[in-house]
Amino acid sequence: MEVTQLLLNAQSIDGTVRKHAEENLKLFQSQNLAGFLLSLAGELANDEKPVDSRKLAGLVLKNALDAKEQHRKYELVQRWLSLDMATKTQIRAFLLKTLSSPVPDVRSTASQVIAKVAGIELPQNQWPELVGSLLSNIHQLPAHVKQATLETLGYLCEEVSPDVVEQEHVNKILTAVVQGMDSAEGNNDVRLAATRALYMALGFAQANFNNDMERDYIMRVVCEATLSPEVKIRQAAFECLVSIASTYYEKLAHYMQDIFNITAKAVREDDESVALQAIEFWSSICDEEIDILEEYGGEFTGDSDVPCFYFTKQALPALVPLLLETLLKQEEDQDLDEGAWNIAMAGGTCLGLVARAVGDDIVPHVMPFIEEKISKPDWREREAATYAFGSILEGPSPDKLMTIVNAALTFMLNALTKDPSNHVKDTTAWTLGRMFEFLHGSTIETPIITQANCQQIITVLIQTMKDAPNVAEKACGALYFLAQGYEDIGPNSPLTPFFQEIIQSLLAVAHREDATESRLRTAAYEALNEVVRCSTDETSTMVLQLVPVIMLELHNTLEGEKLSSDEREKQNELQGLLCGCLQVIIQKLGSEPTKYVFMQHADQMMGLFLRVFGCRSATAHEEAMLAIGALAYAAGPDFAKYMPEFYKYLEMGLQNFEEYQVCAVTVGVIGDICRALEDKILPYCDGIMTQLLKDLSSNQLHRSVKPPIFSCFGDIALAIGENFEKYINYSMPMLQSAAELSAHASGADDEMTEYTNSLRNGILEAYSGIFQGFKNSPKTQLLIPYAPHILQFLDSIYMEKDMDEVVMKTAIGVLGDLADTLGSHVGGLIQQSVSSKEFLNECLSSDDHTIKEAAEWAKHAITRAISV
């Protein structure tokens, strides 16, 4: 059958026809990839074919070039690269030709496919003529082709990394894009496509933003586009400004006055879609300044890369009133709609960021608004005033806020019981939560919660938990922070007299018929967890009484019969919450003096957790796994009795690549079990090690799981000692190649640096565990051949000068462990290493006492090793 018909059939309403066609397409693809891709490209390019078959041809082609999963993506890339040049050339030609098709959808699909091909080929230095041919005669092109070309450039910039495109090409792309945006461009479709393309291309414009003239030009064109009569262009132009705010913050000083005027006008007068972007510009500026100020402690020092320009502070007198106005534009039921996002919400969120960026300065700008409106008859004014108040509680110093907050507390408690508006009560409860979050706790000098008002606060919160779900949810949140504030209170907590009542009320909330609305049930359990976490020994009996209650609830969720998929999802969510709650309780009670009484529940609890694994839900699995880890720690060697049954779920967890969080917590739990069982874990180690090694070699597994796997090697080695011998031949080469990679992988960006450090830490923890495990064993000699490489690794990460404190401590510990375990066998090697001198001395004089301790230990071990 010809491909057109196949593609049409694949969209048929008739399921059988569709399925048959899909199978034939797959068959075609697997039997003759080149022919398949070529005929898809041909279909896409052929203006005589039906639009539907052409669009699907493009889509299938695109999916043959890219996939979400890393490993699949890699496969597809390799397959494309291995095609013969003639086929690829022909496909490229078809694609470029399609850009001039009169059918807009087909052009757009072709744009995306071209970008995917470019994403594969440009890094390989293939298709170097692409950018040139796209731009060769852009000025002469008919409008629809120009639009498609600009769109292609946009996708291309999204797909390709800036470093594979020559600066000359970058300049050409940006010139074409910015010219397309210019008000001189008469065609709105072209202008919109150009504006959207610029958004993608901004990451390429580093050099151009460094050049005053080019930057001025780009900024002028973007600002002009925000004034276009076409709303979509205005919105796209503001998106560009938002992106510029975070990418080129330090280049903006010159333009801020103009941008303020433009954004203020948009916030006040424009369509909401545009106004939201305008607010987002200011939120992004605040984000930047908060980051800068956090990093440099508020003080501009000479060595900071990006100085703070205090744009927010300068704009304050005009910006705050602008944002306060937006607060009055609430939607009636915004608190009931999870997905709601409107100008009032965006404005309030931005106000909160402004407060964090400027601190105390914001208070006088906001207080008059609050005082004027907080008691007005119109709910909008009361809500706006309350929301403004709640928004500025993070940022200003407690000193600045304390008097105001103390005065407001009684008012808020009153509003929470008496205000007729659901909306006002929602915001009031949230504001109380913010007060407790930022102004209540051991670090605050004058407490806002005192013996005099504690009772009243708790009574009001408990009463509010019976209100509408959205309000009750916020009351649970407030209770969460109320409890959190007493985290380090010592042996006597002011919450003790109310403990029982609070627990009962939270359980009652969790059982409300409407508890699944507004995340109420989740909020109730979260608050319960925090109350338990922060409880003192005075109330441990009551926490103990909670154990059978929560276990019964978990048991009930496991008994449910035939549920609809929606019900099952809620059930699984509840299981996750209950396992989470048990986890918190285990950690609270699993140590002396409550341990022995608590552990009477262990068998039954473990039985429940194992049953949770029978349900298909990643969240519930993860929570159950975390709880088991805590239980293993509490149980110690007694945990061995659960292993025969539990082991298969451990293995399942380690195989769960897709829900990598489950895999990650499973790896962590193996560490817990190693420490609990010590050498009793031996019978399970073959299986565990096999799976861990598989995980490491897999390119399907999320990379964040790999560092903990290495640490886990160390846990296992420490637990089973010289029995680790049989894994040495597998694990050491893996560690070695990972070490080589991580030694010089130093950061392209912060995220990469952080990952590299966590990888190094994992590798080093593995070495530590292995050395310590082999200590004093006759088999230590097995490790001697690895010593040179390990010392070299330590030297090279020291030379890179980019390790964080955690790595530093682990690294110097490894040096000590190596010396301690291998002793005189490696004395000479150690003396030759840089680590044993400069690095050790640096650690010995560290301010961080844990680093210093590890270094002193290492020094002692080295002295012994080399003195023999």
Binding site: N529, P593, W857
Partner: protein, 420 residues
């Protein structure tokens, strides 16, 4: 190209409680990992702290007094200052618990284990002070079970004195489990824990005893005292726990005063703390101290025991897990000024003790007082029972002998058949 979603979290915490649980778990795991590593490193570090912290020979009683915090920030001259810091920051019962936890402690024999003649060694325990002897870095230190230093002296043990020669590399260390016998000023070695830096913790008793016997003599530690060797060491003779072995240790004459018999399971590793794989047994003939005496050296009319008070009012033994003996009511606790964690002394009344399957069914306890603060531990189950039996129906030497001889016959039976 659709517009980009710019929703931000609204009235929500940026970190969910689930994420918080995850983070706390990771934190807990990494903390425990580093604790585990610290413990492994402390195997050697404990040695360092033992020999480096030459704290004055203090009376155990004064150790329990709260001491002002020593300013540790100032002195950092010592290479191993963190070990010293750690060990020296331990005070009173803490210190006792720490040092005691380094020693293997026998349970009292309340019934005869199986395969006594095949799987066990027996030796006559010298009367004296149980201590750890550590030799390293040119000096030797002995420490009592409560952590206080008994002697600080040069010895012929490896690394035990500041002289080059037979004692081996200066930096290696050795740890011996000894009893110091006052009368002849001799350290009787009952076990070997580390030898020349080589740990014997994970070795069987069979191997440790073999090593002890073959290695100790080589060093000259068993020679009479000299300038570089202040006290003599001597290996306690041990035997298979068969008829002739039992007979030798029970009736044979030895250079030291006996205090009961120690039985070691041959396959057991050196397990710190209480273990049922080492047992102590006593009767009047081989020990002066069968029945516990009070502070004045008198045997009280009633058996005295010391138990720990838990939060829930239960009073328990020192075993892990603790064995519950009885429960005190809250009023009584309050009245007597007791608090959770207190060690409390009781007398056993006429009602006596009744045990089933290692649990107390009934215990007639009479409250005496809060225990002496110098004590770190409650009594163990086996001690209470042994003492109780000693007063009522003791396990006799004849019982041991008859078990051994029965085993002997069973062992011989198949041989007889085969030779037929």
């Amino acid at each position: 190209m659709a517009p980009h979603d710019l929703r931000r979290p609204f009235k929500r915490r940026p970190i969910s409680d689930q994420q918080k649980r995850r983070d706390l778990s990771l934190l807990r795991q990494s903390q425990h990992r580093s604790d585990a590593q610290q413990r492994a490193r402390n195997l050697a570090s404990s040695v360092i702290s033992l020999q480096s912290s030459s704290s004055p020979d203090v009376d155990p009683e004064t150790l329990s007094e709260p001491m002002p915090d020593v300013d540790t920030t100032g002195h950092e001259s010592e290479a191993s200052s963190f070990d010293i810091r750690q060990a020296s920051s331990l005070r009173g019962p803490e210190a006792r618990k720490w040092f005691a936890s380094q020693l293997m402690l026998p349970e009292w024999m309340i019934d005869v284990p199986e395969n006594l003649s095949r799987d066990w060694y027996v030796l006559a325990r010298p009367a004296g002070k149980r201590c750890f002897v550590v030799s390293a870095d040119g000096t030797t230190v002995s420490r009592l079970r409560n952590g206080s230093v008994l002697h600080h002296f040069p010895s012929a043990l490896p690394g035990g004195a500041r002289k080059k020669g037979v004692s081996g590399p200066a930096q290696s260390y050795s740890i011996l489990d000894c009893i110091f016998h006052e009368a002849d000023q001799t350290y009787y070695v009952i076990d070997m824990v580390c030898w020349r830096g080589y740990s014997l913790y994970e070795c069987t008793a069979e191997f440790r005893f073999f090593w002890l016997q073959s290695k100790l003599d080589e060093t000259g530690a068993c020679d009479p005292p000299s300038f570089y060797h202040k006290f003599r060491f001597s290996v306690v003779p041990f035997y298979n726990c068969d008829q002739s072995g039992l007979h030798s240790v029970y009736t044979g004459s030895l250079p030291y005063v006996k205090d009961g018999l120690l039985l070691y399971n041959k396959h057991a590793h050196y397990h710190t703390g209480n273990t049922p794989l080492v047992l102590i047994w006593k009767d009047e003939r081989c020990s002066q101290y069968v029945i516990d005496t009070d502070n004045n050296g008198q045997v009280p009319n009633q058996q005295h025991i010391v138990l720990g008070l838990q939060d829930d009012g239960k009073i328990v033994t020192s075993d892990d897990p603790p064995v519950v003996v009885n429960c005190l009511n809250a009023d009584f606790i309050k009245q007597s000024g007791l608090s959770p964690g207190s060690l409390v002394r009781f007398a056993i009344g006429d009602g006596g003790l009744n045990c089933v399957d290692g649990k107390f069914e009934k215990a007639d306890l009479q409250y005496i007082s809060v225990s002496n603060r110098a004590r770190a531990f409650a009594d163990s189950y086996s001690k209470i029972m042994f003492q109780y039996m000693a007063r009522h129906s003791p396990l006799k030497a004849e019982d041991l002998a008859s078990v051994v001889s029965q085993e002997n016959q069973q062992d011989k039976l198949p041989e007889v058949e085969m030779s037929d």
